[in-house]
């Protein structure tokens, strides 16, 4: 498999962004690759030690001064009632996020299953993508309102260059119409794909090529989407 050969390049940070995302998706599904990666990384630990060089004595004062002003991200706690699925390699890494995400992930995957023309392979690829996003070291969760009624939850990772969005409380789409997602950044708006309905009435999307958007927008558009939003979107901040 092509992605298999990307692990060494991934270990030394020598991949192009799109290859990096591909390697991460592949890692989520390949035990052998994770073992290879771990061994390569331990090799690089030894090489880093061979370069060992003390920084100036002032560096620690600077670091400790800014650390004292910096909030730590929440430590992991295993919430009650959350049972890890077998073989979920990201579970141990990120239980708090997984707990928050569990229900939402079910929505995203549910939407993938609902889309009738999807093949099995597509669905498992989709599952791997969602898992890889949740496993990325820099994944953040954002919540916000869309318009008056709807609530949105987004998971973003710059490393994966991806966003997962779940929206609750949107009105049903009229026939021939669908909700489209937009990345909003300084340069304007870019399509982030279509929201897919899930059986429980929520909508979800898994989008790549995220870049560094400051907001996410949603508009009602003709099915298949438009190159630009036809009216100002409902937006929330990332």
């Amino acid at each position: 498999m092509r992605a298999h050969g990307l692990i060494a390049g991934y270990a030394v940070d020598a991949l192009e962004p799109e290859e990096r995302a591909e390697a991460e998706r592949h890692l989520a599904a390949c035990d052998e690759c994770r073992r290879d990666l771990e061994e390569f990384r331990e090799t690089l630990v030894r090489m880093a030690y061979a370069e060992s060089e003390e920084p100036s004595a002032e560096l620690w004062s600077r670091i400790s001064a800014s650390a004292r002003r910096t909030r730590q991200n929440p430590p992991p706690t295993v919430p009650e009632g959350v049972v890890p699925g077998p073989g979920r390699w990201w579970y141990g890494r990120f239980p708090w996020l997984v707990a928050a995400a569990c229900a939402l992930v079910a929505v995203v995957l549910g939407a993938a299953l609902v889309a009738v023309d999807r093949h099995r392979d597509d669905v498992s690829r989709h599952t791997a993508e969602v898992e890889a996003l949740l496993a990325a070291p820099d994944t953040h969760m954002h919540e916000g309102s869309l318009g008056d009624e709807a609530r949105a939850t987004a998971f973003t990772s710059y490393e994966m260059d991806a966003l997962m969005l779940v929206v609750e409380g949107l009105p049903d789409t009229p026939p021939g119409m669908a909700y489209q997602v937009w990345y909003v950044d300084e340069d304007g708006m870019r399509s982030a794909g279509m929201l897919e309905p899930s059986p429980d009435g929520r909508y979800s999307a898994m989008s790549h090529d995220m870049g560094e958007p400051v907001q996410v927008g949603v508009t009602l558009e003709p099915e298949g989407g438009m190159p630009e939003p036809s009216k100002p979107p409902m937006k929330f901040d990332l």
Binding site: V12, A14, R35, E38, S52, E53, E54, I63, R71
Partner: protein
């Protein structure tokens, strides 16, 4: 280069002779996640040498390397709650952050100028085997890595140097070496495997 007084804590290698075992370091990282500053300082003392060393190796410029090393440890402070021992050692977790941040910096435009300036002082084409006049610590580990690098083929060595030590992508390395990308990928992979086996890395 400034002279550092006192004990050079960063000089301890990851293998034999290291003052902190992987388990001890992992539990210090867990303590740090609870806001324990003393634990954070010990993590810093243990890892500042290799972190600064690897960042400097990629960036060359000393001032920039200190900036990046500072970012690395702040990242560790913020996110140590996310460290998961079953995914690798704490050393590896921190040094992955360090190398990635150094590479991100070197690829950003602002660093290009500083890099060129520093190249006048430090020969960028050298592997650590080439005896650059620098204050490099941990002589034993350095010797071992030097010996293992010598066992690579010339192309393996070039690919490892251009990617890991210099921060080029595989694609850029292929262009610089005028060989196909698939060759670069293959030599990087078998080069790392040879280094792993030569250094006796077992996980």
């Amino acid at each position: 280069m400034e002279q550092v007084s006192g004990i050079r804590t960063g000089a301890r290698g990851p293998g034999r002779g290291s003052a902190l075992s992987d388990e001890d370091l992992a539990s210090l990282v867990r303590q740090t996640a609870l806001g324990d500053f003393a634990a954070f300082e010990r993590v810093y003392r243990e890892l500042s040498g290799p972190v600064f060393g690897v960042v400097r190796r990629v960036l060359l410029d000393e001032a920039q390397s200190e900036e990046v090393a500072q970012e690395v440890f702040l990242d560790v402070w913020r996110n140590c709650g996310r460290f998961a021992p079953e995914r690798g050692t704490a050393r590896s977790w921190v040094l992955v952050i360090a190398h990635r941040k150094a590479v991100d910096r070197v690829r950003s435009e602002e660093s290009a100028t500083a890099r060129v300036a520093a190249a006048g002082r430090l020969e960028p084409e050298t592997t650590p085997a080439d005896g650059v006049e620098r204050h490099v610590e941990n002589t034993l580990e350095r010797e071992k890595v030097r010996r293992c690098l010598r066992r690579l083929t010339q192309l393996q060595k070039d690919v490892v140097r251009l990617t890991y030590y210099t921060g080029h992508t595989q694609r850029e390395a292929a262009e610089l070496l005028k060989v196909p990308l698939t060759t670069v990928k293959g030599r990087l992979r078998d080069g790392l495997i040879r280094l792993r086996d030569c250094l006796g890395v077992i996980t």
